[in-house]
Amino acid sequence: MSSAETNGERKKNSYHFDRHTPEYRHQFETVTAELVGKCPIAWSDTYEGHWVAAGHKEVFELARSAEYLSNDHDVNNQRKGYKGISIPAPKGTTIQGGFLEMDPPEQRHYRQALNPYLSPAAINRWTPVVDELVRACLDEKIATGRIDFVDDLANVVPAVLTLAMLGVPLKNWSIYCDAVHASVYTPPDSPDMVRVNEGRRAMYMDMFGQLAQIRANPRPGMIDALIRADINGKAPEDMELLGVIALLIGGGFDTTTALTAHALEWLSEHPQERARLSSDRDTLLDSATEEFLRFYTPAPGDGRTISADCVIAGQEFKEGERVWLSWAMSNRDPAVFANPNEVDLARTGNRHHSFGLGLHRCIGSNLARMVFKRMLTAVLDRMPDYQCDPAGAVHYQTIGVIQGMQHLPATFTPGPRTGDGLDDTIARMQAICDEQRLAEPVTVRKASARIAEA
């Protein structure tokens, strides 16, 4: 057979797949049912051609085949020229996307340096700080009866906490917050891109400044761990570290915001389920969290490059080909999830792929779950009758990168404030971080944060 015939046979399951179009968002369940049902691994002609894996079993087998898959983004063309985890790769990128765009052993060394900051035991220490930040966000709005759950809560808490864990001053959160969210939801051809790019520049400037300061005068946090890390026998250079810090910030901000907003919106539309979740939270909160993760899959997928000719899940791949692993579509596979397009807060056996799979499993998954649960339960406690305003809700136009929301306004019966406002609380949390050295790894500091009575 000629190579053209072989390719025709290899690529006989073809499907025009473009996840960056608004149509994909609007037709997500239809497209997903077609791909999962008829061609769980398909060839798409979009973006210079790539594979798309949508079936649960196929995504599972691919994601776990580390010997044949590469995450490498070879921005300086020093290795094989692979393009990392975005399809298409962003134009003109000069910075690798942290260890998510690396392969072992470097990838493993970075994770080993950061695990003691992000393990369940490490994350639990931060719960009292998160509760204070959430309380302050709600107190800012509780007397007015109006809140935007994205702008006033779900954007704020993950951002402030991520900076605290990095060792960056908490009050800088606004430099980072809008820059991160806007760069995800703003289409590349938007006139607003000028402002977005200015925000990104300001963020990278601050990041670079923090890196230099912490190098000169060490203070606890993940940036300090990165500076000290031994990455395959070398100390990493600043450009590489900026990519890693940007990964932690990008991963820590927009995803948890997206999950929280979607869950709050769904619960507003299903008040009986909201009441059930609130009253039965001891038994339902964990499963409901996993179900919202499955259903809304904030990070909908990841690209990979095939690093050697291989056959995986019955499909023949050639070295250099690109593959899109769709966590979002595999999370709707009826072979694994009964009634996949329904939210079932008590779902069991929920093997969702929302944090990815294999050696690149989201390193912040424990943080995401904790912050989500504390935000959600605080809203259920203090604004139990909240009603989202569908006319004011703004979803991201496309779901190619993050399935997020820009705004989610709501009204509720006003209640009394219980403490100080956000700025004062952030200043107090900064003092507690400094005094108690909260950003140390769990190997150094095991105790939970202590919040003095205000």
Binding site: F60, R64, Q112, N115, P116, L118, S119, P120, A121, A122, D286, E290, T348, G349, N350, R351, H352, H353, F355, L357, G358, L359, R361, S365, N366, V442, T443
Partner: protein
């Protein structure tokens, strides 16, 4: 029944310990799971352990 977590497959998703904390303990540093009951799983925990096995995204528990 007996239960074992394959340390080569476990990636620290933590669902097992959420579902059956009596049986699965997470490492303090990397959050990876081990089964703390060597012998037979007590009858009252079997259903939870089966749910944990079904829920593991990496299928690392047997």
């Amino acid at each position: 029944m007996k239960v074992h977590v394959d340390p080569e497959r476990c990636q620290g998703h933590t669902l097992c310990s959420m579902i059956a904390p009596e049986v699965f303990q997470l490492d303090e540093v990397d959050g990876h799971s081990t089964a703390v009951i060597d012998g037979d799983i007590p009858a009252e925990l079997e259903a939870k352990v089966i749910d944990a096995i079904r829920s593991c995204p990496e299928q690392a528990i047997s």
